[in-house]
Amino acid sequence: MLFAQIMVNGLLLGGLYGLMALGMALVWGVLNIVNLAHGAVVMLGGYCVYFLFTGAGIDPFAALPIAMVVMFALGYLLQRYVLNLIIRSAQLNTLLITFGLDVVLTYLAQLAFSADFRAINPSYAGANLTWMGVTIPLVRLGAFVTALILAGLLWALLQRTRLGRAIRATAQNLVAARLYGVNPAQLYAVTFGLGAALAGAAGGLYGMVSQVTPYVGAALTAKSFVITIMGGLENPFGILLGGVFIGIAEALAAIYIGPTFTDAISFGLLLLILVARPARSLRGA
């Protein structure tokens, strides 16, 4: 029974991890930017939902789309007016600038919101249901389902829409895409905005299962990074799977190896995958 419970915990946690990584993978795959400020955007999404919930009384799940719109706007502007300036330069520069962005966003958040812990705590935050002796926390289940829905939407967007085709085309061959009339500056901004919107949704959910402080970002960036490499950059569901894989590995490690080993496990697995299947990771979207 304990084993089943641990598996469920890992699965649900992994769904949330996967959602977090989704935005990073999209930006990485299309723009070839490893966004080190990704966790900071997740954090801002968390604050957004927190204030919509505590300030305006909007249910946190209903606030997710609003937070996504806000984060989309932020992401769009960041890419359009900051990141587009250096996107053609060496990858080290994009790493540097997103690292700088991470620092700036984190400290702006501390100035604006203080270092207080903010938990998004709707009345059903602690609710759960029991199924065959396994306790399933409702919010985590909700987060998992949300992750599935958003991954599905992203997949549909990429496969079925004109915008999605333009995004994929740009990722595959920029020159050819331009010949067909894609405006990369605009498209990059939209893609980065989509990535930020997904991060924003993940942040709101994270605030419901955990808490938001200006400093949660760095750890989430690292986790998203690992999952993105594991899940590959091609398919949103691959990313979710990567998240679930990490979630379950961590949950099992905490019990059977020791709770202090969870990070060692995720990064250890990353190393193993890079050694075993270097070709699969880091291929275009």
Binding site: L2, Q5, G10, R118, N121, N128, A251, A254, P259
Partner: protein, 400 residues
């Protein structure tokens, strides 16, 4: 003539404060605190505690050291919760900024490393947020601490548990892997063996852990009577929220080392904070007298008025650190670091925090008061006897 008179008068008036100033010297206390970064939330308790104490002492005429009037100045750097930077900044405070004495950072890990600088340069450091035994067991002479020993944090809680009805037997102990919590764990292991409790879960998790799913599920499977949890405030918050969502209920009670006395903790958790047991070495009580602030209650009111949030034991401990220097400087009669160090070791005074006396190792030893959140308020429950009736056994999440 009129102009000359006016100019003379103006010069005289302007020189007055300068003349007054010439007689007042300054003694500078320095600290590198976690103003930003993951510990920023608690680092500010020390910044604000140090500042309010220094301001108050200065407002009331400063100190008389060897017949000279002194004001206290405070030099605070932001270590950004970066341990290496913190050590570097303490070095800077001593060598570049030439501060006279050092106040400690928040938490045991930082103090453990920062106190090396104090020892190296033979500058006394008084730390208000460092409880781990490790810090004081190295034979250092220049580090003093106003946090009671970590290995006894759960001492009063365990003693209370032997007097509760129904009496708990099985304990689940979950602590973080930092210096402070490792000391807490060692203490609980020793004490629970002595009092005949059985540790059915005894696990260490990594510092700043955010997901307790596995540990909580393991705990649930062992059905303990009591959960004892040792971690920082963020971990305590995650732990309680996730315990609720996974429906993990100890049969009788849950107690945490850190978090419960802070207003921040209660506001983040809302009614889920209810029934949680915690501990504090300090309550804002009018019977604890203080030379500068009157008493602890008056201090708490002043603090809340000035800073806009509730003081907790971290703040009181920080004030006691500054007062330690104030008393020791007056007793030593000079700024000589070794003389002040010896005067600190002989400290014996009433402060709004507690009666300050340092033991052989430099650490204070005061009891933890067991507290419980009852109707949104922190209620003292037990020291070596019951102060108020605990709400016990604690109802399950489903029945609240």
């Amino acid at each position: 003539m009129g102009r000359l008179l006016a100019a003379t008068l103006a010069a005289l008036v302007m020189s007055l404060p300068v003349m007054g100033h010439a007689q007042t010297k300054t003694v500078t206390l320095g600290a590198a605190l976690q103003i930003t970064g993951p510990d920023g939330n608690l680092g500010r308790y020390f910044r604000d505690g140090y500042q309010i104490a220094v301001d108050r002492i200065n407002e009331q005429g400063g100190l008389t050291i060897g017949g000279q009037n002194y004001r206290i100045a405070l030099k605070i750097l932001d270590s950004q919760t970066d341990l290496n930077l913190s050590v570097q900044q303490y070095g800077q405070l001593v060598t570049r900024d030439k501060v006279d004495f050092l106040l400690g950072p928040y938490n045991s890990n930082f103090t453990l490393n920062d106190s090396v600088i104090a020892e190296k340069y033979k500058v006394p450091m008084v730390s208000g947020g460092a409880a781990a035994a490790q810090i004081y067991s190295r034979g250092y002479k220049y580090i003093f601490g106003t946090s009671p020993p970590a290995d006894n944090y759960f001492g009063s809680t365990l003693e209370m548990m032997t007097k509760l009805d129904p009496q708990p037997k099985k304990i689940a102990l979950l602590v973080a892997d930092d210096a402070f919590d490792v000391s807490v764990r060692a203490g609980v292991r020793a004490l629970s063996a002595k009092d005949g409790f059985e540790l059915v879960v005894d696990q260490v998790f990594k510092e700043h852990n955010a997901d307790f799913g596995s540990l909580l599920s393991l705990t649930k499977s062992k059905s303990p009577d009591v959960i004892l949890m040792g971690g920082h405030e963020t971990e305590s918050l995650n732990f309680i929220r996730q315990a609720k969502s996974l429906d993990v209920n100890p049969h009788h009670m849950m107690a945490l080392t850190v978090g419960v006395p802070s207003a921040d903790f209660r506001s983040a958790l809302g009614k889920d904070a209810e029934y949680a047991f915690g501990m504090t070495p300090w309550m804002a009580s009018p019977v604890i007298r203080d030379r500068w602030f009157g008493d602890a209650q008056k201090f708490a009111e002043l603090f809340h008025r000035k800073l806009g949030y509730e003081a907790d034991y971290h703040v009181a401990s920080a004030v006691a650190d500054v007062e330690t220097f104030a008393y020791a400087l007056e007793a030593a009669g000079s700024l000589d670091r070794d003389a002040v160090r010896d005067a600190i070791a002989k400290s014996d005074f009433e402060s709004l925090y507690a009666t300050i006396r340092y033991g052989e190792t430099g650490q204070i030893d005061i009891p933890q008061i067991v507290i419980q959140v009852q109707d949104g308020k922190v209620v003292p429950v037990y020291t070596d006897h019951f102060l108020n009736k605990p709400r016990y056994p604690v109802p399950t999440w489903a029945k609240r």
